[in-house]
Amino acid sequence: MIGRHIKLYLAMQSANLRSHMAYPLNFAIGVLSITFLGLSFILVSWVITQKVPIIDGWTTYELIFMTSLWRTTHGIFIAFFVQSWFLESLIRNGEFDRFLVRPLNPMFSFAAHNIQIYGFGDMLAGIIGLAAAMVHIPDWTLGKIAVLLVIVISGAAIEWSLQMMIGCMVFWTLQGGAMRHILDQLLAQFTRFPLSVYNGVLQALLTFVLPVAFISYYPSYFFFGDRSGVPFSPVLMYLTPLVALLLVSVTYYVWTKGLNAYKGAGT
């Protein structure tokens, strides 16, 4: 059963990939420009820390590590799950119904519907940033790298859940574009500097309500030598996979409810 789905997923995504590759020049420019965009964020962190070497206890390379970690997870989200951005337009155009009539789980069918090559640009920028930072962060072991992999996947799952839940609003309200924009901006802003630079309300909000801080901020502490500065509780730096699991379950529940509420585009 699972094997069949994996085979199907690979077949669908490779077809998507081939259709994107039809214009190789656009493909190259697109991926390159996104890589450039990702690196520019890392560059900005570098420029600031040339004047101020330590921000709230974080060194240049720790900051670069954190921001690159988000770039990487964001790249995975964009590459494989960006279609959650387009739920609104799919429903408005009546194209959404095709996921419902297929003999597959609609969530699976929806997830395998698109592959967005620009995500690879984000991943590339993130991996370059991570590699550059990791050289300067002591005590890397194979075990830690395995944990990093789990964190990256969990982070992507958290971003997917948040984006998807906002996307699902469309089932009830038939809109949600502005909310999505807010989430994008919050993700980009609050994954770049340590949470401790913000006031207490924002810290609590980003930890307990909209758990953006679990994508890159809390898990970063796990890889650093000094772990004394974790806000609220040091336990939080281990919780990313749990938060991801919880959010994914909630999202799946919201999605199912949404499908039940969905009446089609009308006409």
Binding site: S40, V44, V47, L202
Partner: protein, 265 residues
Amino acid sequence: MGKYVAYTITTLKNTQVYKFDLLLWVINSFILVIAFREVWKAIYANGHSLAISTGVTSQGMQTYAMLSVILYAIMPPSISYEISDKVRDGSIVFDMQKPWDFEWMHFSKAAGVFLFSMIYTVIPQLVGVFLFFPIDYPAGVQAAAFAASVLLAFLLSFLINFIVGMTAILFTETWGIDMFKSVITDVCSGAMVPLWFFPDAVSRVLLWLPFQGIFNIPLSLFIGKITGTAVWEQLAFQAAWCLILLLLSRVILAWIERKLVITGG
């Protein structure tokens, strides 16, 4: 002239449709205003001699950061996507044949968006900032210079967008080029980090480019980093780049119109 004003007003009306989106948009910017301020406050708190080495106090930098978010809202949106859509379905030809100037038409539209953002996002946010945060604002000549500088910044940003947008006519797919433009503008204009934070050699180059006219000059005027005769020099710098880019855009537009006639005829 009348038809351009009418187009500006139509754009302004069209943008007012989505009231709920607008509210969320304002909330979003306000969160960013606060976040930017807190980031720079923390950076200044951690860098001990920063106020002396940069010549800008923590308070001045917080003002710079908050205003950079607010100014972002009035900068004209990219037109590459719109143009490349029109190239794909061929309607670009009709746009070019209409009895109006292609560049003026786009400028009128950008002006409509400018008015809209002024009324609905910039003014409410400025009021919010003045109410909640202690900031020093300019007065007299300095304030007038700031206002003039913002208008020139808008014009500069429009011209850069227009030139990049027109390349869509040549290449059809401009997604990547437009992304490059956004990144370069964001980094080199001082929108993300003020230019005086860059290493000296880099900032010396950036000070000659048009991008610094979009954020660095108006914001430096506001916080009083630029004063005296330097005010006029900086305004002249913006105006000179506007003129150069305007001429460049006219040359490219004329060339494209000729090319379209040849391929179309």
